[in-house]
């Protein structure tokens, strides 16, 4: 594909094609997480929207972030895959480039605890603000304390 070569040519040694990806649904592995914003700026020349941001928990060390972009014209799909450390889950926000990244990043922050630097309104989106824990992490256990939590000050 043309756009793949163009994007890869701008970032040599950093972007790498993943085996087994289709023509229309290609996957690129980004080795350096600090360059995510620059790569996405380049991606924006070929793709219109970020329609999905998935995080996959791979204990003990890695969170795998998948940024899935799509184009209205050519109907191509591009996934950019970044591995970040589990202990220090911090990455630059791309919400200034793609508007839809705003809520996707808030959801990832809510359920996994990945922090996005530069996000304007980074707070929980699905769970209550004072809810304890990050539920989609693999080491999260549903204990009785979590089940009975209501967050309400009830005296009976």
């Amino acid at each position: 594909m043309e756009f793949l070569d163009e994007i890869k040519a701008k970032f040599p040694n950093v972007l790498e094609s993943v085996d087994g990806s289709n023509e229309n649904e290609s996957v690129l592995l980004l080795k350096d997480k600090t360059k995510i914003k620059r790569v996405c700026k380049e991606v924006k020349n070929h793709f219109d929207i970020l329609f999905m941001l998935m995080a996959v928990d791979k204990p003990p060390k890695i969170f795998e972030l998948n940024y899935v972009f799509s184009s209205y014209k050519t109907q191509n799909i591009l996934t950019i895959r970044v591995n970040i450390e589990r202990d220090k889950a911090v990455i630059d926000s791309i919400s200034s480039l793609f508007e839809s990244a705003d809520w996707e990043e808030r959801e990832t922050y809510d359920l996994f605890g990945v922090e996005f630097i530069g996000h304007k309104n980074l707070k929980r989106i699905l769970l209550p603000e004072d809810w304890p824990g990050r539920p989609l992490r693999k080491d999260f256990e549903v204990t009785d304390e979590v089940r009975n939590w209501t967050g309400l000050d009830l005296k009976f």
Partner: protein, 179 residues
Amino acid sequence: MEEIKNNEFSYPGLGEIIFMKTEKFIEDVLNWGRSRSLWPLTFGTKCCAMEMIPFGATKVDADRTGTLFVGDSPRQADLILCSGTISKKMARRLLNAYEQMPSPKYVIAVGACNISGGLFHDSYNSIAGIDRIMPVDVYIPGCPPRPEMFLDAVLILRKLIKENKIKRYENGVLGRDKS
């Protein structure tokens, strides 16, 4: 003589008896009135709310029991029809709506999720039964229940109101209604 006057086991006088009888009579008349015009607040969060629609429609006519779907505002409602899973974030909104309703107020818990958590009883983000956060008078089992069961629940609630058996939290303690 003073000792006899202060005795707490003394019998009530005739005036007191008449006052107590009158108070009870007025309360009975009020309860009779309340039981015949239950305006519900339809707090539908999920699929059980779909069964609430035929409950108000022609075949199972809710209007003939005085259950009028007017306004859907907690300020005018005296019955809350809570149907659907209540998530932990929604629990505060539910309690907020419940506290806005004028007393006396009644609660009907609709469906398995509201009774015990149902399918989501083990979830990290749902309340396992709304009787953990508010008093419930009538439970409707089923997943989802049939619209006829809503009618049955309202008839049971009418009976409970007339017999003064409504649950209520007073000063944070669950007690039977005394008034």
